[in-house]
């Protein structure tokens, strides 16, 4: 019977490979800069293969990052292969090893951990001469790698909490919905919240919940919190994915005028709700398109032997009803 297994496996695999061999052309970026950019033809000859070792590709934000990487890579003459770690540090180590074994021209990575990837990334740079450029997130041995391009997540958290504090005039009851414990991005954003809260003793953090970046993990928290404490003034979330799970609960309980929601990433759905003027008061623009532009610029200079800046920090920008049309004119 096991002979049938081998036959079936081969048939399914062959079919899958044929189906996957020519992935669809990525859609044009929806990012703020991308919308202004003229579509350009990539150079006829490829300069090599860049591996984008993604944190995950499970939400609009991270899918857009992969799309931007492919798009800007193509414009710069590189083939881009996306590897998805699914937010698992061990899988991301394997992804980097795969890129090394394939003789990557460069590794672009959004690390799932500040410390967990140090050895393998250092090995790529030192033992295999592969440039490693951290995009969006960094590692604790950053200075030993090729370059670092990121939005400052801690600052993003600070700006988000500052928007909340300003909207509440520095006093009120709030809940914090952070994401997966142990992940450094979530830690940095949340640390940014608390840094701002030190200046606002009249803002009381009534609840702290731990979601998993997705709306489904946020909804039950919002239901419980708002049932127990209907006078909660705001719920602040580590990303828009979770904030979008909180918003419908606030709306369905008729608390849109008293309980406000804040997210981070400024994805399209969040921007729509900010424009609507309901309870969704703000988000943070993490300009990942600009991150990849800077990343490929660094790579081009590195390969050409030209000097380059090895640390580029792009400031996040608060997005609210007052500035959204200016920041996203093409929405």
């Amino acid at each position: 019977m096991k002979r049938y297994l081998s036959l079936l496996l081969m048939v399914i695999l062959a079919l899958s490979l044929f189906a996957c061999a020519s992935p669809a052309e990525p859609a044009k970026s929806t990012g703020p800069q991308a919308s202004d950019a003229e579509p350009t033809e990539g150079p006829a000859e490829s300069k090599g293969t860049v591996y984008w070792c993604a944190h995950n590709t499970a939400n609009e934000f991270s899918v857009n990052m992969a799309k931007y990487c492919e798009e800007i890579g193509k414009e710069n003459g590189y083939k881009v292969i996306v590897l998805d770690s699914d937010t698992d540090v061990a899988k991301q180590i394997s992804d980097v090893e795969t890129a090394i074994a394939a003789d990557a021209t460069a590794i672009f990575i959004d690390p799932t951990s500040t410390d967990g990837l140090n050895a393998v990334l250092l090995s790529a740079v030192k033992d295999h001469n592969i440039p490693v450029i951290c995009i969006h997130g960094g590692t604790s041995n950053q200075e030993e790698l090729t370059a670092f391009v990121a939005c400052d997540m801690f600052k993003g958290g600070e700006i988000e909490m500052q928007m909340l504090a300003d909207d509440l005039d520095g006093k009120g009851k709030i809940a914090i919905l952070r994401s997966t414990e142990g992940h450094d991005v979530a830690n940095n954003i949340t640390d940014g919240y608390y840094a701002v809260l030190e200046n606002y003793p009249d803002i009381e953090v009534v609840y702290v919940g731990v979601g998993d970046w997705g709306a489904d993990s946020a909804t039950p928290y919002a239901e419980t919190w708002l049932t127990a404490t209907p006078d909660l003034n705001a719920i602040i979330c580590n990303n828009d994915g979770m904030a979008l799970g909180v918003r419908p609960v606030v709306a369905s309980m008729g608390l849109e005028d008293t309980c406000w929601v804040y997210g981070l990433d400024a994805i399209s759905e969040a921007r729509m709700y900010i424009r609507e003027g309901g309870c969704y008061k703000g988000s943070i623009m993490m300009d990942t398109y600009a991150e990849f532009l800077a990343g490929f610029d660094i790579l081009n200079k590195f390969l050409a032997g030209e000097p380059f800046e090895n640390k580029v920090v792009i400031d996040p920008v608060g997005v609210n009803a007052a500035n959204i049309d200016e920041l996203y004119p093409d929405d």
Binding site: M1, K2, R3, Y4, L5, S6, L8, L9, M10, I12, L13, A14, S16, L17, A19, C20, A21, P23, T57, K79, I81, V82, L83, D84, D86, T87, D88, V89, A90, I93, S94, D95, E97, T98, I100, A101, A102, D103, S113, T114, D115, G116, L117, N118, A119, S140, T180, E181, G182, H183, D184, N187, V210
Partner: protein
């Protein structure tokens, strides 16, 4: 040659028994034809390395499944022992880092204790394995997060970091750990009475009891072995990531179970082999690595993996039905 003679032919028997190996070879050939990078020695060694941790987990998981049980807790036990290992060897704490040898002892013991906890409830208190190990999954993950307050632990000693990040004769050290565990596992299953008891219990627990086998102690042992394997993986993971990361191992139990099922271990217990499990692990890694090398999005890999598991279980069920009808 008549049909009967053909059935009894040794070569035919070996080919039949190696069906899953042919599937692996076919996968290797298909992947190689689609990507020139795939069949490079560096990538093939990488496949072995990437298989190692799941492979070690699958050794313990196979023993548990052969007894008719299941261990859903291994991913969380891995996370807990990963944190324990990192606490043992970090220089960021107020205590002196332990030696690598002592860290091995501590982690294997901790993993064994988690396994003993599962075994106690399943074997001696009669709890369903699915429920007990699901509870331990939650406890283990919570433990890993609580002891670290959700933060990673780093500054591990250089000696410890070398445990998973060195190579001997061009082969990564992780592969040797896997090899050692497989050899120990195969020895237990094939050459000891205990191994035969594990199969007997999975085949028919009541008959095993009536024939004088200590069913409780044997099942308890299987869970302890599974815990020890997870403990070892936790230690190796801490060394591989050169830090203690509380979220590691999330979902690894499913990979280990998938490897067992693909390798021909029956979910009902009583049949299957560790060598088949090794091949099952390799098949999963070849699919994952091959698709990665070709740049195929990871979501296709999930579909592929699910399809292979379904086909494997279907074949397991139909072959059992055939056996029953021929008996």
């Amino acid at each position: 040659m008549d049909e009967r003679a053909l059935k009894n032919n040794k070569v035919i028997k070996i080919i039949k028994r190696m069906g899953i190996v042919w599937a692996l070879l076919a996968l290797l050939l298909i992947m190689s034809s689609f990507s020139p990078n795939f069949f490079r020695p560096a990538n093939l060694i990488l496949i072995l390395k990437q298989s190692s941790l799941t492979g070690i987990l699958a050794v313990g998981m196979a023993m548990v499944i052969i007894t008719g049980g299941i261990d859903l807790s291994v991913g969380s036990v891995l996370a807990s022992t990963c944190m324990i290992a990192s606490f043992c060897v970090t220089s960021s704490m107020s205590w002196e880092p332990l030696s690598v040898f002592m860290t091995f002892i501590v982690c294997l013991t901790a993993g064994g204790l988690f396994g003993a906890f599962n075994g106690l409830f399943v074997s001696y208190l009669g709890f369903p394995p699915f429920i007990v190990t699901m509870a331990t999954l939650s406890i283990g993950r919570g433990f890993a997060l609580v002891v670290t307050n959700g933060r990673s632990v780093f500054n591990l000693t250089k000696e410890f970091n070398n445990v998973s990040n060195t190579s001997y004769l061009g082969i990564p050290s992780l592969v040797y750990y896997w090899l050692v565990m497989v050899v120990i596992g195969v020895f237990i299953m094939k050459k000891t009475v205990l191994g035969k008891w594990l199969y007997a219990i999975g085949g028919n627990q009541d008959a095993a009891r009536l024939s004088g086998i200590n069913v409780r102690a044997t099942k308890f042992f299987a869970y302890v072995i599974s815990g020890v394997c997870a403990g070892l993986c936790g230690l190796l993971m801490a060394s591989r990531t050169t830090s203690g990361q509380p979220p590691v191992g999330d979902g690894d139990e499913l990979n280990a179970i998938a490897a067992c099922v693909i390798g021909g271990i029956s979910m009902a217990g009583g049949s299957g082999s560790l060598i088949g499990t090794v091949v099952g692990v390799l098949i999963l890694t070849v699919i994952s690595n091959g698709f990665d090398v070709m740049g195929v999005p990871s979501n296709y890999q999930r579909i592929m993996r699910g399809a292979i598991i379904l086909i494997s279980v279907y074949i397991d069920l139909t072959s059992k039905r055939k056996q029953r009808s021929s008996n």
